[in-house]
Symmetry: C2
Subunit: 157 residues, 2 copies
């Protein structure tokens, strides 16, 4: 709008405009930060809800099959054992698909990250510090552990 | 560092300093934005992993009890039915604690958000559009639905 002027007056006007612009951009950045912070919190909340629903949905077939096994139990009491075994396997498949396969720790070297030693036993056939019994299996692999196994460990010589 | 000066020269120096400062603050805001964006993506990933593990862990007692029921099945085949019923109830408690209680939709007014109508039936005792049979139960309440119920709906007169 203003005609160009020579000298310090023109420099002053130009610098004032740059200060105003830089401050405006800074205020916008601060507003962006605030919005992003809110959006992030909302994204985390949504991720938690969506994941809860997705994982819960994976267990519905297990629940449906428990129901079915009960419906047929009166007619064929013998068949329920086979049914429950299949449901147990189905549940293990769900856990494995979530990244938590059941581990077979028998014979493994004791590892406090994966094992809870609930007893120590003399076992001449097993090397000291190896798992000689699993009381409750552990789930998970590598860094992705869900629950340690409860184990009995062989005593040193 | 500079001595104060009078007139346009002093104004110019002051404005230049303010432009530099405002631009510096703006650059920092942009860096903050970028960091926040990365942190947010990491937070969402962590929330998904933590929620998967937390929900999976809630199902472990159900799996343990399936195992226990199988262990005792040979000794007392009759007891397994009672055991499976208790495990089914335990599974329903886990689903309810995740915000997805099993619904009893018998007699409810048909609602496409909660019901899949798999059949229509003449039923003189039921009002048109009410649920007269539930083939597979639905889970969830209010806006928080996990699975619609498969239902049979009464036909109009």
């Amino acid at each position: 709008m203003n005609d160009p002027q020579a000298g310090p007056e023109a420099d002053l006007a130009d610098l004032r405009a740059r200060v105003a612009e830089a401050e405006d951009l800074r205020l916008r950045s601060l507003a962006d930060l605030d919005n992003l912070r809110k959006r992030c919190a909302a994204q985390v909340r949504r991720a938690i809800e969506d994941t809860q629903a997705a994982v819960a949905a994976q267990w519905l077939p297990v629940v449906d099959n428990l129901e079915r096994a009960l419906d047929h139990a009166q007619a064929e009491p013998e068949a329920i054992i086979e049914g429950v075994r299949a449901i147990r396997d189905q549940a293990l498949t769900v856990l494995a698909s979530l990244g938590f396969p059941r581990r077979d720790d028998l014979g493994a070297t004791f590892d406090p990250a994966r094992h809870d030693a609930v007893a120590v036993r003399n076992d001449p056939d097993a090397g000291a510090g190896t798992v000689v019994d699993v009381l409750r299996p552990g789930y998970g692999e590598g860094e992705h552990q869900l629950r340690p196994a409860q184990v009995v460990v062989a005593k040193a010589g």
